[in-house]
């Protein structure tokens, strides 16, 4: 536990605060009592400061770990693919090929259209999200304490699991959503896509009735459309946040005497074993849903629209 005497609440709160770098407005009174003469980009030193930064802030830890893990993924897979031979695969190559063929088969099943980008996207999501989730298995205090030690700041906010930050998961979900819209318009044309949004699910075939149904259809379709990224992002966030929370609670128990230490050790192990399933499953679900959404973008409903 970082710092001096800390209550359990402080400990939890500290663990749930991201390292925010953002803009504070002019005239803002900082945590140490100084008043800013002009608006400045700076590190947040308290929960209040982080909250007051509003939208113009970046979670350095979330982005940093995301990029680091993404680079790890790109690096490892790029090395494997550039060194790959069509002979007998060994070591890294056979591992990477196993992952790739698993994704390839799955995508071919779920996504029966021609689009060379969907499978690589599924691979990226699966491995990247898995790696980010995997950070959850590192004992909750190790990396934050190491970071505090290196920076010399005991109160440094440092959250190592990017998927426990709604920005991290919603960011990916929004990108997937953008791809969904992009492919929908590319495949069906702008007009076709608007038709799909306004003439579904209810249509009669008589244009004057259909005109009356447009607002109703549009509302339904937009809600279902928006529900996709929201459910995608929040599912991952919710699962990982809950898992992280339990790890933090278990970490508190470590401090409660010898019995607490042993009990926490057992709980930590048990939850970690269970969590291995959760993180894999969530990465998998995120990937499959993304592929399904891409499939929806390519699905042509012209036949049903005209009958």
């Amino acid at each position: 536990m970082a710092g001096e005497a800390q209550t359990a609440t402080d400990y939890i709160q500290h663990h749930l605060q991201n390292m925010a770098y953002g803009k504070l407005p002019a005239g803002y009174t900082r945590a140490d009592g100084t008043v800013l003469s002009e608006s400045t980009w700076t590190m947040a030193h308290s929960y209040q400061e982080a909250a007051d930064m509003g939208f113009w802030a970046v979670h350095v830890d979330t982005l940093g770990w995301s990029i680091a893990l993404g680079l790890l993924f790109c690096f490892v897979f790029r090395i494997a693919s550039s060194r790959a031979t069509s002979g007998v695969p060994r070591g890294l190559q056979s591992f990477v090929e196993m992952v790739v063929s698993f994704i390839d088969k799955l995508v071919k099943e779920v996504f029966p259209y021609r689009n060379s980008m969907v499978a690589p996207m599924a691979l990226t999501i699966f491995v990247w999200v898995f790696l980010m989730n995997l950070m959850d298995l590192v004992p909750v205090d190790w990396l934050p304490m190491a970071a505090a030690g290196i920076s010399g700041n005991d109160h440094l906010f440092f959250k190592v699991v990017p998927t426990t930050d709604p920005n991290g998961t919603m960011g990916i979900a929004i990108a997937v959503f953008a791809m969904l819209i992009f492919f929908s318009i590319r495949e069906k044309g702008l007009l076709g896509y608007i038709k799909e949004l306004t003439l579904h699910p209810f249509h009669t075939g008589r244009w004057y009735f259909d005109m009356l149904l447009v607002p109703f259809n549009f509302t339904l379709e937009v809600i279902s459309l928006l529900a996709k990224p929201v459910s995608l992002g929040l599912r991952l966030f919710g699962n990982l946040y809950a898992g992280e929370m339990i790890f933090i609670l278990i970490a508190i128990v470590f401090g409660v005497g010898a019995l607490g230490f042993i009990g926490a050790g057992v709980m930590q192990f048990g939850w970690a074993v269970f969590h291995v399933l959760v993180i894999t499953l969530q990465a998998f679900v995120f990937m499959v849903l993304t592929t399904v959404y891409m499939g929806m973008a390519h699905e042509r409903e012209d036949e049903t629209a005209h009958d």
Partner: protein, 156 residues
């Protein structure tokens, strides 16, 4: 848990990684995997064909072996038959030769007998003449008939 610029940053990060994977990771890997698949398929096909060829060759070899055996049996059969025939012929020839030799010997014997009989007959005539002469010349002076006696003895 504030929603902020991280959202956009994460989106861009994601798209960059997807682009990288799409451009530099996926195509070479999949290409190589497909290449290997093809290799394996060809290999299997070839193995299949080789197996069939082998089976065919084995069947052909078995056929040929059978044929050869049959031929050999036929040849042996023929040879046996021929040998029997030859033996039979030889036997017959030997019999015939024996018969012929026997007949010739008998003929010769008969001839000899006949000749002996002829000689004997002529001898008997001579001897009877000589006997008669001897009987007639008992009282004849031996000395006077020495020549005659000697002649007779010489003729015997």
């Amino acid at each position: 848990m504030n929603i902020n610029l991280t959202l956009i940053g994460q989106s861009i990060t994601f798209l960059v990684f997807v682009w990288f994977c799409w451009k530099y990771v996926w195509p070479p890997l999949l290409g190589i995997m497909q290449e290997r698949e093809q290799k394996i398929a060809t290999g299997l096909e070839e193995a299949d064909r080789a197996g069939k060829d082998l089976e065919l060759a084995q069947r052909k070899a078995a056929d040929q072996l059978k044929e050869a055996k049959e031929q050999a049996a036929e040849i042996i059969d023929g040879a046996n038959r021929r040998a029997n025939q030859i033996v039979e012929e030889a036997k017959q020839a030997a019999h015939a030769e024996g018969d012929r030799l026997k007949a010739a010997a008998q003929a010769e014997i008969e001839q000899e007998v006949n000749r002996a009989r002829e000689q004997l007959r002529s001898r008997v005539a001579e001897l009877s003449v000589a006997g008669a002469e001897k009987i007639l010349s008992v009282n004849i002076d031996a000395k006077a008939h020495d020549d005659l006696i000697e002649q007779l003895a010489a003729e015997l």
